[in-house]
């Protein structure tokens, strides 16, 4: 062994240092002990010990989404890797850059059904952007560097590096230096200027333009949000965004229509339906956005800017596609718009805004005010009011509370909103909040949760306590899996099969059992005090906010309906759409 040779485990940790990794979320086990040994009392890398590997990936996602840096995960072989799969699938659908290092049984034992052996690359192939099984210590350094390159460039996503235990122990002198020169991977970056010019000219013809933006803007970085704001303000067009794109454009701006889609605003969805030119930037015409596809924005020409070629023409026909990074493309788009001295027809634009302002009068987020019980919408509204202007990050779980949070919280900046959009993973929000807090130690991080979702990763309270992470969990407790119950109302004649949770824990005692603070509130008059107390308490807090049990989340485009067939809150009768029960 030459003096320069390092063990595989040392090479891995050195690569992580060189790549600027300062936080790893993980859980040890037999097949990763050599790496854990290298991390013991490491001076630059903090390891956050989670209580379940799924939470490690969600925490890494929260960290990545809020900081713009890749998240890093370390788990053992077999169950460690399989527990991480849900998190990886979540990161895949929301395009979050995460590198997950998994231990594997020694090379000689692969394929023998060894203890804690799982075919990790086989299992994770469909829910990662790419994955590697490293069979030689000589390859370790290059592969770890390549994994971060693949995870963070092009359309970001999760990458798994599976490292057999013997590869971590044997030594090598091969240390990767310099940029990655990949043999086949060539992600898109700059858009074709000619394609952008065509898109600019198409937009200039619009009488009813709209911007429809998504998570791609957030992924591209703050520059993309900045350029988007400039372009939208310069053109004077209305803008809406997907769940994943909230914060890219300030919610307080007069051109902002609110979120679109299944639980989007009436004005956003109607504007999408009626527009004549749509500019989609970094969004992918997801089924939660489009509603019934043959009725989706039937009279518009569509411009689609996306870093992923396969997103274009996947769901809807696009007239002017541009493949490239949102920020890069918007920069050129803005330049060409200015250079061409383009301007919308003023009278047409004014009349378009008149239509939109008429729709705004429907006040689609209205809900009945009650003195006897906290309405979940009211809770979100107060949460917004009492955190406004503060250094605050929000995460959510999945369900009604998530949609209410999206509707009532107002985001002025990107990277402040972490939610599981594509996969819809209950249990995402709390570990994601832990990841956010690791990236932003001084900020307030609030997980808006449901009483059902929070129990899917409640064990992470132990993690939050161990690392002194003062994450706030704000539970909208209605005792039901609210969205499931709402769909049962809609499609199953109100037969609430298994959507009611009997024997819920006492969340105050639960918090206290971990050493955290628990607050229960069930009266509208006490709500503000509870939120203020939550904000002012050091350390993790659970607020058990008891809300109206049967409130439904409106407006809503039922599955199989079109954008202009929304159910509004003041229409109590829920229409059933043909075939609705078969849709998701």
């Amino acid at each position: 062994m030459s003096s320069k040779a390092l063990s595989g485990a040392k090479i891995i940790v050195k690569a992580l240092e060189d790549l600027g990794v300062d936080v790893i979320f993980g859980y040890p086990g037999g097949a990763v002990l050599p790496i854990y040994d290298e991390l013991h009392e490491h001076s630059k890398i903090t390891h956050v010990l989670v209580r379940h590997e799924q939470a490690a990936v969600h925490a890494a996602e929260g960290y990545a989404r809020s900081t713009g840096k890749p998240g890093c995960v370390l788990v053992t072989s077999g169950p460690g890797a399989t527990n991480a799969i849900t998190g990886l699938a979540d990161a895949m659908l929301d395009s979050i850059p995460v590198v997950c290092l998994t231990g594997q049984v020694p090379v000689q034992l692969i394929g023998t059904d060894a203890f804690q052996e799982a075919d990790t690359v086989g299992i994770s192939r469909h829910c990662t952007k790419h994955n590697y099984l490293v069979r030689k210590t000589d390859d370790v350094s290059r592969v770890v560097h390549e994994a971060f390159h693949v995870a963070t460039t092009g359309r970001p996503g999760p990458v798994v590096v599976d490292i057999p235990k013997d590869v971590q122990i044997t030594t090598s002198e091969q240390i990767h230096k310099g940029p990655i020169e990949h043999r086949s991977y060539r992600p898109a970056f700059k858009g074709d200027e000619e394609a952008i010019r065509k898109a600019v000219e198409l937009l200039a013809t619009a009488k009813k333009p709209i911007f429809y933006t998504g998570g791609g803007i957030i992924n591209s970085g703050p520059k993309a949000s900045d350029l988007l704001r400039k372009l939208v303000r310069l053109t004077g067009a209305p803008i809406t965004s997907t769940l994943m794109g909230l914060g890219a454009y300030p919610a307080s701006d007069k051109q902002w229509l609110g979120m679109l889609g299944m639980h989007g605003t009436y004005e956003a969805n109607h504007a999408m339906h009626d527009c004549d030119v749509m500019v989609c930037v970094g969004a992918r015409f997801d089924d939660r956005i489009t509603g019934r596809i043959d009725a989706f924005s039937p009279n518009s020409k569509k411009i689609h800017i996306d870093i992923d070629r396969s997103s274009i023409d996947k769901i809807v026909h696009v007239d002017a596609p541009v493949v490239g990074d949102a920020g890069e493309v918007l920069e050129v788009f803005l330049k060409l718009w200015k250079k061409g001295k383009h301007k919308f027809d003023e009278a047409a634009l004014a009349s378009w805004w008149d239509d939109i302002n008429e729709d705004r009068k429907r006040n689609c987020l209205a809900y009945p005010h009650r003195d006897d019980v906290i309405m979940p919408q009211y809770a979100c509204e107060r949460l917004q009011a009492l955190t406004k202007g503060k250094d605050v990050y929000f995460t959510t779980e999945v369900g009604q509370h998530q949609m209410w949070a999206a509707q009532f919280l107002e985001f002025e900046e990107p990277n402040r909103w972490m939610t599981s959009g594509g996969l819809g993973t209950m249990g995402y929000g709390f570990p994601a909040a832990i990841g956010v807090q690791m990236g932003h130690p001084k900020a307030t991080v609030i997980d808006v949760a449901g009483e059902a979702s929070i129990q899917m990763n409640i064990q992470e309270l132990s993690t939050a306590m161990q690392y002194g992470l003062p994450v706030k969990i704000f539970i909208l407790n209605n005792e039901y899996m609210g969205m499931v119950r709402q769909w049962q109302d809609l499609n199953h004649d109100g037969r609430y099969s298994n959507s009611y949770t009997a024997s819920l824990p006492d969340f105050v005692k639960l918090a206290e059992s971990y050493g955290a603070t628990g607050i229960m509130v069930d009266k509208p008059g006490d709500l503000d005090d509870a939120i203020i107390q939550m904000m002012e308490t050091d350390g993790p807090v659970i607020v058990d906010c008891r809300v109206e049990k049967l409130a439904n989340c409106f407006p809503m485009i039922p599955s199989g309906a079109a954008h202009n067939e929304m159910i509004l809150p003041n229409e109590d009768e829920i229409k059933e759409f043909e075939g609705g029960a078969a849709l998701v």
Binding site: V121, G122, R125, H126, K129, H130, L133, V150, H182, R183, S184, Y185, D308, R309, S310, I312, D313, K314, H317
Partner: protein
């Protein structure tokens, strides 16, 4: 791309890094997204054995065909993807080994058909032949169909291999 219900048959040619799991990525993409695979061939094609060429014949609507190409392009270890049907013209060939058993008249007739199809007799016993036949898929099908009357026992086919005509390369 505006979609029509009309289904098209397309031949894709894919150059990949010859690394473990790459074929699983490609066929996993097809099965995971519900695309058809009619034919599949794969083997290393450079002298060093670093690159393999995969040929896939698939059937789908125009929109699906476009998606398949875009999705294949997204896979990290893929160097090039070509739709030989769109970028054509291309030559397409496959090879089949066909075993027939029988005696007397049947054997004579099998040999006659084989000759007409320019099939090679690669194995003979007193009561069996194995023929090697190459050609377009339609020719292979026609040969197998005729042999089914003449003691057909077993068939194995390589699937389609295809290249651009002329000087054009992938």
């Amino acid at each position: 791309m505006l979609d029509t219900p009309h289904k098209e048959r397309h031949t894709f040619s894919i150059i990949v890094d010859n690394e473990a799991g790459v074929l699983a990525r490609v066929i996993g993409l097809f099965s995971g997204r519900g695309y058809n695979i009619e034919h599949l061939t794969v083997a290393p094609v450079d002298l060093a054995g670093n690159e393999s060429r995969i040929t896939i014949v698939t059937i789908g609507t125009r929109k699906i065909i476009e998606q398949i190409k875009a999705q294949l392009d997204r896979l990290v270890p893929i160097h090039k993807v070509g739709d030989l049907t769109d970028e054509g013209p291309a030559v397409e060939r496959e090879l089949a080994l066909v075993k027939v058993t029988g005696d007397r008249e049947q054997r004579v007739e099998a040999l006659r058909v084989a000759e007409a199809f320019r099939a090679k007799r690669v194995d003979s016993t007193a009561n069996s032949f194995v023929f090697e036949v190459t050609g377009k898929t339609e020719k292979i099908k026609a040969f197998i169909e005729l042999m089914s009357e003449l003691g057909l026992e077993e068939v194995v086919r390589t699937g389609v291999a295809a290249l651009h005509r002329g000087t054009k390369k992938l």
